[in-house]
Assembly symmetry: C2
Homo-oligomer: 306 residues x 2
Amino acid sequence: LNNLIDYFISQKSVLLEYWRYIFPILVALYVFISFYDKRRYGGKKQLNQQQVEKNASNKKLVNDEAADGDENEDFEDDELQPSLENKLYIPFTGAKITLDPDQKIAAEKFYKIVNDRRSVRKYSSRKIDVEILEKCIHAAATSPSGAHTEPWTFCLISDPDIKLQVREIIENEEFINYTQRMAKQWVTDLKPLKTDHVKEYLTEAPYLILIFKQTYGFKPDGQKKQHYYNEISTSIATGILLCALQSAGLSSLVTTPLNCGPALRILLDRPPHEKLLVLLPVGYPSEDCSIPDLQRKPIDEILVKY
Amino acid sequence: LNNLIDYFISQKSVLLEYWRYIFPILVALYVFISFYDKRRYGGKKQLNQQQVEKNASNKKLVNDEAADGDENEDFEDDELQPSLENKLYIPFTGAKITLDPDQKIAAEKFYKIVNDRRSVRKYSSRKIDVEILEKCIHAAATSPSGAHTEPWTFCLISDPDIKLQVREIIENEEFINYTQRMAKQWVTDLKPLKTDHVKEYLTEAPYLILIFKQTYGFKPDGQKKQHYYNEISTSIATGILLCALQSAGLSSLVTTPLNCGPALRILLDRPPHEKLLVLLPVGYPSEDCSIPDLQRKPIDEILVKY
């Protein structure tokens, strides 16, 4: 190796000559990369590194899959309250309220209700009693969550001005998406579906529900409290919300507006630790509403029995 | 700057002297960092970088939040089938099957059903008709998903041997978690809840449901098809499953076994593009089942109206 270096140095005298310029550039580059890395990946990098070490030292299955486990803390459930207070335990006998005394009929009834759900993009202006929506959101918030942190905030918008501002933020971003960001193939693929950057449903639907995940919370003493699994928990709550809306005869559409999270958070005056997960217009289909004739996968493609 | 460099070089002649050793080390360090980065963050880094550029060039809100948008593609919904075939459109008039003709009563009924749900850790051995579980899973699979990719697989286990193997995999990992990986504070916090690495429910519950997210799928020609938002989609499906089980009078517990995904995937012979999202024991509470007397947040802590 030393021979190689000697050879390299003797050949490239020009490198030594300009070294005074090259060196600070290299240093600056290194500093920039380190800084960039830290800023971008901060905690995540540390987590992955820890995980790699863990996996290596425990001689457990180490393969590519280990790397994608950003959420490897135990999700656990309502029970897992990480607090020092001794919780009172009460007996529990299971579900008291079901859809039918016959469990098979109950499961069938529930399946029929949710199987009737389709995503709706064109809404009528028909009003909805706000109490119905409140009750549906209350139902969503019964979701289990990592360590019972309940890491969600539901923003319910009916004010036409605010709906318009939401629409402007999203349409501006979507216009850039469709014209600059999205691959040509993707835009071409979408053409038959008449999907473009114009999102009329954002002002047509009587209500918008914006669901924020809380990436962390606060203990009574003001200290930060990590919200493990806040995205999975809030998504499960979203699933419960969809069932509630459907049970009450309301239609919706699950969307994740590309790049709009921060602007919408500021518009709605939510704190920085809340991040937009999904946005749902809620209402009734317009008279001319139509949907693509899609089929769902048959049960044997999604269920494996052991 | 040049003066500074001159000064630097004259002072630190030792640096020039040992340059032949320092230079290759710097190069190796740089190569290592680049390589390490690519391996760890591959696509993600690219995405974030694009995003930074986008945000900068569009003079849009650029702040720390932009960095956490791993899933910045449009989630969209059932409708968004990215395929060139022209889908047939059919009229849609909204929900036909609801819980009650009166929407307020329907929403209230649904709320009461799901509010009755509590996570159960102790199960009786009482059997469940498999058809009920199949129907509940079928209901979960009506979930919307990014571009209608339906990126989920439900593994339903009743075989006692396989349940025992699942338990062994998880208990071995959990023992390491509790004794080595988890912070002392966390383990201390859990003591009053009597939560430890022994997971009897994994063999006591008549059924286990393991829900896998499919990180990608395959087109008819065998090409890989990206599954955008597979985690959010599969979590929403999990939320629907919880409602279905509850409606049918069954109890469950949402868990995310720490570090066990790959071993469980191999045990159940699932392909590498499927990653374990959650594991749910399903059944009836045992006679001595008890739950902590937890309260849920009041509605005004989770709902903001505009």
